[in-house]
Structure formats: structure tokens, C-alpha cells
């Protein structure tokens, strides 16, 4: 028996198949993962992500702590609830975790992964001792993501006027408080939508109200295929402490100039010596499914492996992220002909510039 979110009862009532996820009993699907996936791309779905860890950092030293902890630069955000996606690195430039931090007027509100909770807290708290700040975990807060083309109108229909006005005022990648509810225009699906952080005892009411608006519950299975279509990394699969952000297609979230942070020296070394591997998108139109850890070859030579792979319900064929040796991606040569070993067969895949899907439609280009 694992930890349970305040929505456990609702999941069971909706017929969820419950699996262990980082010590939590979580819904993997409520009947059909593919139907749930389509529901988010075409209408609206809601995800219980209350297993994720919510932290606040307050006090005059908060900003300096985050400057040191994060590879992205917190100082570029106005304190108006703007969100920053960043890697948190170790001294070797490896990714300890990826996270989102909202720069609110009186606090930094941070959401980190559930499976990495213990090491993240230990890592952050060790650094926080040197700064005048308070790091607090909020296990009493639940998180619901509502995503899809009709998600925002469904949420507006179930909240009061004041909260509705707040939602209307938010820009993409921005959040704000309405009472004890924090609502942000962020997500992990590549669709319009919000994520709501709210007191755990208020979340069943929100869930049931959204359900009456026709918003369907979505399990972790569809969450994974939605994020992969959207080209978003999953910590522990696509990057970890053994990979740098440059090897994880996260270079755009690293600020090297006028920014001293843990892991910077290692990243500088990697830049001068050359980044050995890259994370790229691949598609396969043949029948079959690309899956994590399948080996990737170029002209018969092993050059890497898939880090995530799935059947894409939106595209109707398989997509994957592959970490491959940079040698096979040199821009001067013709595009390398990559193959993936699926059981005993070599199958040709096409390298594409991901994301694969945005706002319900194919968004990649073949390079």
C-alpha cells in the first residue's frame, strides 16, 4: 500500500487501474489510455499530480539561493508569478532534477518531481544554510492539471468571478493566487490549460465540479504519451545525474553569462571539449512501437539508445527521443541514416526536430 493523494477515492470510483509510482498509488488509466490521450488533444482532461512535491522559498536570500541552484537564471523573471523551467545540476553538470519555479511577489513557489523528492530536499536544504531564507515543503497541497483546447473555459465555469478574472489575466507560463488557490498557465501536454495548486481538502470538490463540465480524468499513461508528443523530457528517462542539460536538449534553459551556479564549471568544460551526445527526436512510420532503451545504430555501429518511446495516438505511429553520439549528427554530412533495433530487427527511423505535436497537430519538421 502506497501513499494516497486526496483524490484516491475519486480515482477508484472512476474505475482507475492503480499502480505504484514513486511510492504513491496513482491511476495509470481509467479504461483506455488512448481515449484519454485524444480527450486532452480534442477537448479537456484533468490529471491528479498531487504526488509531486510543492516547496516555497521565502526570505531575503531566496533569489541568491536559486541563482546558485538553478542552471536557468531566476533573475530574468519579473516577480509577477512568471514561471521558469530549469535543471538543477550537481558539480559534474549532471541533472539532479528538472523543476518549475514561479516567481511570486512574496515567495518562490517550486514544483519538483516525486521520485526525486528526498534527494532534492537534501540538496536544496544543504545549500539553503548559506542563505537567509526558509525552504518549506507543503504536503497538504494538491495539484490538478486541466489541459486541452476546452480546459480553460471548463475551469472558468467552476470557479468564482474573481478567480475567473485572474485566469483571464494570466499569460502563458504565468501563475497567480486567488485566495489559497495558485493557478498557472503551465502544463505537460503541449495544449492550452492550467495547473492548480490548492489545499488538499478542497481538491475533491474541484475534481467533481470539473467532471460535471465534461472534463475527463486522465491517468499517468496518457500523461506520458502527451508529454512525449509535446517533446518534453521526463526526468529519470531522458536525463539524470549522468547527463548534462546540453546532452538532454535543454541547452535553451541554461544561462551561462553573468550567472554563477552549481555545475557551471563542468558545463564550460563540456562546451570547450565538445558535447559528446545529443538528445534528438525520431519517428518510425512502420508498424511497431519504439520503446525506451532500444539500441540505436548508424551504418551498423551502435551510436546510442532511445530514452523514451511510445505509439503516438495523435500521429498514428511511433515516436521517440534518442540519445546519440554527436558524431553522427555533424551538420556537414548528409543526415545520418539511423536504425533502431526492435527485438531482432533493424528498423529505419527518421530524425526530426521535435516537439512532435503542438495544439493537437503535427508540429515537427524533417530537418
Amino acid at each position: 500500500m502506497g501513499l494516497k493523494t486526496p483524490l484516491h477515492q475519486q480515482h477508484v470510483q472512476c474505475g482507475a487501474k492503480i499502480v505504484d509510482f514513486g511510492g504513491w498509488d496513482m491511476p495509470v488509466h481509467y479504461g483506455s489510455q488512448i481515449e484519454e490521450h485524444h480527450k486532452v488533444r480534442r477537448d479537456a482532461g484533468m490529471f491528479d499530480v498531487s504526488h509531486m512535491t510543492v516547496l516555497t522559498i521565502t526570505g531575503p536570500g531566496s533569489e541568491s539561493l536559486l541563482v546558485e541552484l538553478l542552471a536557468n537564471d531566476i533573475r530574468k523573471l519579473p516577480r509577477s508569478g512568471k514561471a521558469l523551467y530549469s535543471a538543477m545540476l550537481n558539480e559534474h553538470g549532471g541533472v539532479v532534477d528538472d523543476l518549475i519555479v514561479y516567481a511570486n511577489p512574496d515567495e518562490y513557489l517550486m514544483v519538483v518531481n516525486c521520485a526525486t523528492r528526498d534527494k532534492d530536499l537534501a540538496w536544496i536544504n544543504t545549500r539553503a544554510k548559506d542563505f537567509d531564507c526558509v525552504v518549506e515543503e507543503h504536503p497538504d497541497r494538491a495539484i490538478v492539471a486541466v489541459q486541452g483546447p476546452n480546459a480553460i473555459s471548463a475551469v472558468k465555469a467552476v470557479v468564482g468571478d474573481e478567480t475567473g478574472k485572474l485566469i483571464a489575466s494570466l499569460k502563458v507560463f504565468q501563475g497567480g493566487y486567488s485566495g489559497a488557490w495558485f493557478i498557472a498557465r503551465t502544463g505537460y501536454t503541449g495544449e492550452r490549460g492550467v495547473e492548480i495548486i490548492l489545499p488538499g481538502d478542497e481538491v475533491p470538490g474541484l475534481w467533481e465540479a470539473l467532471s460535471l463540465q465534461g472534463v475527463a480524468p486522465i491517468g499517468l499513461g496518457a500523461r506520458d504519451t502527451l508529454r512525449l508528443e509535446a517533446g518534453m523530457n521526463l526526468y529519470g528517462s531522458d536525463m539524470d545525474e549522468g547527463t548534462s542539460p546540453f546532452e538532454s536538449n535543454m541547452g535553451g534553459t541554461v544561462v551561462m553569462d553573468n550567472h554563477e551556479f552549481i555545475g557551471k564549471a563542468a558545463l564550460q568544460r563540456q562546451i570547450s571539449e565538445g558535447i559528446p551526445r545529443q538528445l534528438v527526436g525520431v519517428i518510425m512510420k512502420e508498424r511497431g512501437v519504439l520503446r525506451a532503451h532500444y539500441p540505436v545504430f548508424c551504418e551498423g555501429l551502435l551510436v546510442g539508445e532511445l530514452t523514451s518511446g511510445a505509439f503516438s495516438p495523435t500521429l498514428g505511429y511511433s515516436i521517440a527521443l534518442a540519445r546519440v553520439s554527436s558524431d553522427v549528427l555533424t551538420p556537414s554530412s548528409e543526415k545520418a541514416a539511423l536504425t533502431v533495433q526492435i527485438r531482432d530487427k533493424q528498423v529505419a527511423v527518421t530524425q526530426v526536430k521535435h516537439p512532435f505535436v503542438r495544439n493537437g497537430k503535427q508540429s515537427y519538421k524533417t530537418q
Binding site: H29, S32, G288, A310, F311, R343
Partner: protein, 131 residues
């Protein structure tokens, strides 16, 4: 709760076999198996006229979760495959024992069916697996 129709025979590897009136044997995967796999997205079926030994590789079923090999519960020659699964693999989830069948064989020896599990014994295998 999964279905375990009494009139079928079962393999430990989660295929079912049905002896038809014309003496052929129809094969598919069980309700328990499709439930464990989740949504099926591709099915690779055996070629017609292939001679399959009992327990021999007869194809692959790919779901959102995993790829699983399919084994023939009895030895025989493949005489028909369910082409409908090519365009509608979801039939395996929706109707594992009827519309979601995989292939039919002309069995070498229908007595082999006796060596397979009854519905009750197969159900016990499934219960043990989930503990």
C-alpha cells in the same frame, strides 16, 4: 474482473484456444492478458500456411505498455489470420474472445488441447501472478 469463459482452453502464456465444429482451433489472447497490456496498438500475426509447434512463436502484440510474444497453444498449420486487427487492434481489448481472435490453425492433434488449462486452473494462474 476479467472473464474466463468455461468452454475455452488456456495456455499459461495467456492465449486461449477454441476447438471449432469444423475441427480447426481458433487462438487469441485472454481478457486477463489484454487488461494487463492496456490498449493494443499493433498486432503481428503469423503467415498463412506456417507450421507452428505447440508453444512456438506465432506473433507479437504491442500495447501502449509493452511488446509481448504470442505462442501457439497447439501445434498445427495456420489457415486463417484475423486481418481486421491490422486496422482495428482495439478489438483485442474490446472483444478478446470474439472479434479480437488472432489466428486459426488446422491442429496436428486435437488431443493436445487436453494438455491445456481449464478456465478454473487458468484463473488460478492469473491470481497467483498478481500476488
Amino acid at each position: 474482473m476479467a472473464d474466463f469463459p468455461d468452454e475455452l482452453k488456456y495456455a499459461k502464456t495467456h492465449e486461449w484456444a477454441r476447438l471449432e465444429d469444423d475441427g480447426t482451433v481458433t487462438v487469441g489472447i485472454t481478457d486477463h492478458a489484454q487488461d494487463a497490456l492496456g490498449d493494443v496498438v499493433f498486432v503481428e500475426l503469423p503467415e498463412l500456411d506456417t507450421k507452428l509447434p505447440a508453444g512456438g512463436d506465432a506473433g507479437v502484440v504491442e500495447s501502449v505498455k509493452a511488446a509481448s510474444d504470442i505462442y501457439s497453444p497447439v501445434s498445427g498449420t495456420v489457415i486463417e489470420v484475423n486481418q481486421a486487427l491490422e486496422d482495428a487492434p482495439e478489438k483485442v481489448n474490446e472483444s478478446p474472445f470474439i472479434d479480437g481472435w488472432f489466428f486459426k490453425v488446422a491442429p496436428d492433434d486435437t488431443a493436445e488441447l487436453e494438455a491445456l488449462l481449464s478456465a478454473l486452473d487458468y484463473q488460478k494462474v492469473c491470481e497467483q501472478e498478481s500476488h
